[in-house]
């Protein structure tokens, strides 16, 4: 699987090689059906924006893809590997990286250590009791580069608990980007960011390498429609619309359930 990133049409979703494949995924929390049978194929290099009102099941969908939740029914296949019941810790090896809606990092460690752990998680020796040698120094360099990529280079020695909300978000994105993921899941990365920071984030996401498949949950329409080449709209645990940004914006059903109240485009 995972053919070369230059495969024609990768960006526009014309490619048939799907990197993430969900088949009738159901997720029930007790009596509540958070996902009611979702089918989704995401091609390599696709930039997919996921929209939907609060409680639509977007985050739950991510949790299922990322292995934090085992779906009640259905299957999750990533790069041809059946991941339905595979715990989240096996995802980085498949090149999957994610961020959480409520930023999750390690408050007791520094920015540098957080980024370093993200790198070690994917390609380091987890259990090494030795002081990091050449490989470690290499990862440290990459951690520093990752910090610069999200404009945190002057915060690198700071403890994460001392960062502002926006900086924690930047760090989370940095941790996801640091590993050079093939599949990147970002859950509302722009929330809590200032206008300027949102613009920088948009720029950052547009500059992702072509092979990176992006799944982006975003309430901010500017970010979603600018970064997304394909848009999926969810409501009540179902995918209710899917298509190019233009198609979705023209869809009347979508307007009714979601865009009507919030869209300004």
């Amino acid at each position: 699987m995972a053919p070369d990133a230059t495969a024609a049409g990768g960006i526009d979703g014309g490619d048939t090689s799907s990197v993430v494949q969900l088949s009738s995924v159901t997720m029930a929390f007790g009596g509540l059906l958070a996902l009611g049978g979702v089918d989704l194929d995401v091609a390599q290099g696709q930039r997919l924006a996921i929209l939907g009102p609060n409680g639509a099941g977007k985050t739950t969908l991510f949790n299922v893809v990322a292995g934090d939740l085992v779906p009640t029914q259905g299957s999750v296949v990533i790069k041809g590997v059946d991941c339905t019941r595979l715990p989240s810790r096996h995802r980085p090896r498949l090149g999957v990286a994610r961020t959480y809606q409520k930023a999750r990092s390690f408050p007791g460690l520094t920015v540098a250590d957080n980024l370093y752990l993200a790198l070690v998680g994917r390609r380091g020796r987890h259990m090494s009791l030795l002081w990091p040698g050449r490989v470690g120094r290499d990862l440290r360099d990459r951690a520093r580069a990752a910090a610069s990529a999200v404009w945190l280079e002057d915060r690198i020695g700071m403890r994460v608990s001392d960062l502002s909300h926006g900086q924690k978000r930047q760090l989370e994105i940095g941790m996801a980007l640091a590993t050079d993921p093939d599949v990147l899941l970002l859950d509302e990365p722009a929330s809590g960011l200032s206008r300027g920071e949102r613009e920088r984030l948009t720029e950052l996401l547009e500059q992702l390498p072509a092979h990176t498949t992006l799944l982006l949950i975003e309430h901010d329409m500017d970010v979603a429609f600018q970064v997304g080449r394909r848009v999926v709209v969810m409501a009540d645990g179902l995918v209710v619309a899917s298509g190019s940004p233009e198609e979705v914006q023209a869809n009347s059903l979508v307007h009714e359930i979601y865009l009507g109240s919030e869209a300004h485009t």
């Binding site: 929390f29 985050t59 949790n63 990322a66 292995g67 934090d68 939740l69 085992v70 715990p87 989240s88 810790r89 096996h90 995802r91 980085p92 090896r93 994610r98 959480y100 809606q101 409520k102 999750r104 990092s105 390690f106 408050p107 007791g108 460690l109 520094t110 250590d113 370093y116 752990l117 993200a118 070690v120 998680g121 994917r122 380091g124 020796r125 987890h126 259990m127 090494s128 009791l129 030795l130 002081w131 990091p132 470690g136 403890r159 941790m175």
Partner: protein, 354 residues
């Protein structure tokens, strides 16, 4: 994490104390060296394993004395021959050491694996249960604990000589101190701290959280086992009462008095504990650390209370603050981030995933 300057100062103070302890036998009284300080170093080493697991891993363990006891009992069983209590395996002393530590490591691994999916108060309770069960096992199975304990245990040469045993405790304490601090900067130690702060995040970064916790617990158990060997060599005997609930809590109290997020605090707390234990009873040379007359319990209780009121980070925290000239008052940063008392299991399906 403390600033580089105060880290250097801590190092200088620790180095000075170690030099002092190295020359102590030249001028200290026999009683002070062989009784007070040897015991302090041994208990400090045991308590340091609690600091290691708590500060890096957020795992407050009440099983450390049990693991020390496992090593002690196993050494007693393995090293003694015919006529003594226990199994009388009659191995040579150093083989017995290896045997004891191997058994301790295996036990620690199994107990750690069983506890690896719990955190916070649940982990504490589970390790308390380990302590209680461990005590009961040794109390009931007299084949391995000898009726009322194994006595006349002899340390391997040259540690039959009390001053040599003191130096062994000192050297091993210094090594453990350095190693524990250094581990904080290794992949393993950084990952432990990541697991402490957010196990779910660690998992999605690719780490095996349960295995990491298990191995951390195993490592802490191995060092506790080393302390347990020193302990039986020093006391020359071991009985189930010495790993009962009272002494088990005492090790935690030592770590708390000293400052549960400071490695130095473990030995500092041990010193205070041993001094109080020795002098509030006013009868020197009692052969059991588990002996707790009411007076001692009251004094140690008040001591804990006083220290907790002055500084939740214990004596080491107080000293650090005094040395920075900030006086007592609001807490400042400490050497290792204290555990967040997250109680969410690693992978519980729904819950806590936003």
């Amino acid at each position: 994490m403390i600033s580089r300057r105060s880290l250097t100062r801590t190092n200088a103070v620790v180095a000075a104390v170690v030099v002092l302890l190295l020359v102590l036998p030249a001028f200290g009284s026999d009683f002070f060296v062989r009784f007070i300080m040897t015991q302090t170093l041994i208990l400090g080493l045991m308590a340091a394993t609690i600091v290691f697991l708590t500060a890096y891993g957020g795992m407050i363990s009440l099983a450390q004395l049990l693991l020390a006891g496992v090593a002690g009992f196993m050494f007693g069983n393995a090293a003694l021959s015919e006529g003594a209590r226990g199994l009388n395996l009659g191995l040579s002393p150093w083989v017995a050491v290896v045997f004891a530590l191997a058994v301790t490591t295996v036990v620690a691994f199994l107990l750690g694996a069983l506890a690896s999916r719990t955190t916070g108060i649940y982990f504490l309770m589970l390790t308390l249960v380990y302590g209680v069960i461990g005590y009961t096992v040794f109390a009931q199975v007299v084949t391995i604990s000898g009726p009322s304990g194994i006595t006349s245990i002899v340390a391997p040469e040259p540690f039959t000589e009390p001053v040599n045993l003191y130096y062994a405790a000192l050297v091993l304490s210094v090594l453990a101190y350095i190693a524990f601090r250094a581990i904080g900067r290794t992949n393993f130690g950084l990952a432990m701290q990541g697991v402490r702060d957010d196990p779910i995040r660690m998992s999605s970064l690719g780490f095996n959280v349960a295995l990491h916790r298990t191995l951390a617990f195993t490592l802490g158990g191995l060092v506790a086992g080393v302390a347990g060997l020193l302990n039986v060599w020093w006391r020359k005997q071991i009985d189930p009462a010495s790993i009962n609930i009272g002494p088990t809590l005492a090790i935690l109290i030592i770590a708390v008095i000293g400052g549960i997020s400071y490695f130095e605090g473990a030995w500092l707390g041990a010193l205070v504990y041993v001094l109080l234990n020795t002098y509030t009873k006013s009868i020197p040379l009692i052969d059991q650390i588990g002996l707790t007359p009411d007076r001692f319990n009251t004094v140690i209780g008040l001591m804990v209370l006083l220290i907790m009121v002055l500084s939740p980070e214990g004596l080491a925290g107080i000293l650090e603050r005094l040395s920075r000239g900030r006086g007592l008052g609001k807490p400042t940063q400490h050497s290792v981030e204290p555990p967040t008392t997250s109680t969410s299991p690693v992978r519980t399906g729904p819950g806590g995933l936003q």
